[in-house]
Amino acid sequence: MIETLKEIAAAAPSSSRPVVASLTSVDKNYGDVRALCAVDFQVRAGEVVALLGPNGAGKTTAVKLLLGLLQPNRGKVRVFGGDPVNPENRMRTGAMLQVAKVPETLRVREHIDLFSSYYPMPMPAQEVLATAGLENLSDRKFGDLSGGQKQRVLFALAICGDPDLLFLDEPSVGLDVEARRMLWNEIRELVLRGKTVLLTTHYLQEADALANRIAVINRGRIIAEGTPAEIKAQTAGKKIRCVTALPNSVLRQIPGITEVKQDREAVELHTGQAELVVRELLQRDSKLTGLEVTSAGLEEAFLALTQDAPRVREQEN
């Protein structure tokens, strides 16, 4: 399965835009723990790329490598064609990282003023405040803000230098639905202004809503890459749910059914040929009830992909 995924990813029309950030055959270990393994990954100018994966998959490690906060054990990390630690590169990038504690006694506008001063051509403070939705909070001390507001300040610090390339590590963690939508709109606006964005998330919906390319990462490996539609196509097909007297062993033999899962009194069937399977089911069990057919969303695709990973690894070994 992984092979076909890679083929599809490779066959996807490659953009002619220049690569602005890349990991090439990168391994990264923390002691004995392998955080990233043979990762090849590129971000092209003007893209929004989502690095999607469960907790501990290696997303943050990838971002920290690209920010020059970590060095790879093997492979090459490039940003704007150079080493990410170059001061010139840092002036063109902005980063939102997960932080446990930010100096709490400084006001929002003071934090922004300081970070803006690091950059050659920062955005005007008013614009930063407006973009991050902080206009009414600029005189508040950081420690007096709510969790969502704190996230917005970190976002403001990432964008205040008007950088070309933005790294957003789990930007919507701790945001409520409304705040998350607001952040999405802000990110989309930045992209309209020609910025390139790499964001990490374990919210599938977020990757689907924002990214024009998704790389699914699990256990330190990129296991699928493509447009949201392509990723969904990996597990193309439908989910059929019904209550039936047919035993699971019979269901498994029905052509077209790829997976059978018992869920309380119902069964969940995965298939690429929903119409065929439904016809067959109704013929074999006239008392079948509670029939539901849904398309496999990104969520299913994601689960299917990440659950497959251990099996693949065993095969490789």
Partner: protein, 271 residues
Amino acid sequence: MSTATILLTDAQLARSPGHTAMIYLKEAKYEFLKNLRLRMYTASVLSFPIMFYLLFGLVLNAKEAIGVTRVPTYLIATYGTFGVMGASLFGTAAGLSSDRGLGWLQVKRASPMPPFAYFAAKVITSMIFSMIIVLTLFALGFTAGAVRMPISEFARLLGTLVAGSLPFSAMGLALGYFTGPNSAPATINLIYLPMSFCSGLWVPFMFLPKIVKQIALVLPPFHLSQLALGIVGAGNHDAASTHWEVLLAFTMICLGVARIGFQRDQEKMYG
């Protein structure tokens, strides 16, 4: 590689010296404001030496003298040293260990901040707080304790004590690299309170037990306080240069340790 996204020219990316100076200034300004608003910092660092001075220097022993030096004058030198040490240790170590341990330093490092600006801001802020403490002690002594000294002597006393912030800032940087965000304040207290006592900052040096006097010889606050006392005519009879040498050596050792910590952090991050 074609980098069509390069919108800024090299000239725009190169930072002018003026811009760099402005960053250092802002970094220091906000470090100062951050600590000034931190009640835990101001309460412990500013109020203790001032309260001690009020009580022991102005309320209780104002009419006494130690040798030829009046107590209100003598105690400006010793509580001044005590204040400088506290302001510098807490100003550097507490912030650094918390920034390191809780992720803020990474955000700073990912930004184009000149790395040295971060450390400079901490040291400058410590020196400013040191100056505030010494000036406050002097103002109290001048108004309520009839402390009088020639301007030149006062300037030397102030300059010596504020310069004395440097060894303790260096020590704070070293501590900040080897303590966690939660243990830093306790560790600082554990070091700085006994050290203050043994150096004669609370009880005048000559009243200390002999064994403590021996220990004091290797303690930097003893040497800074002797320099300050020397200016007000109450020092021991060692040459000032000896005290400066000890402080300088101590500063270098601490900076060396801090450097090891800095590199250890880099390597931990660099795996």
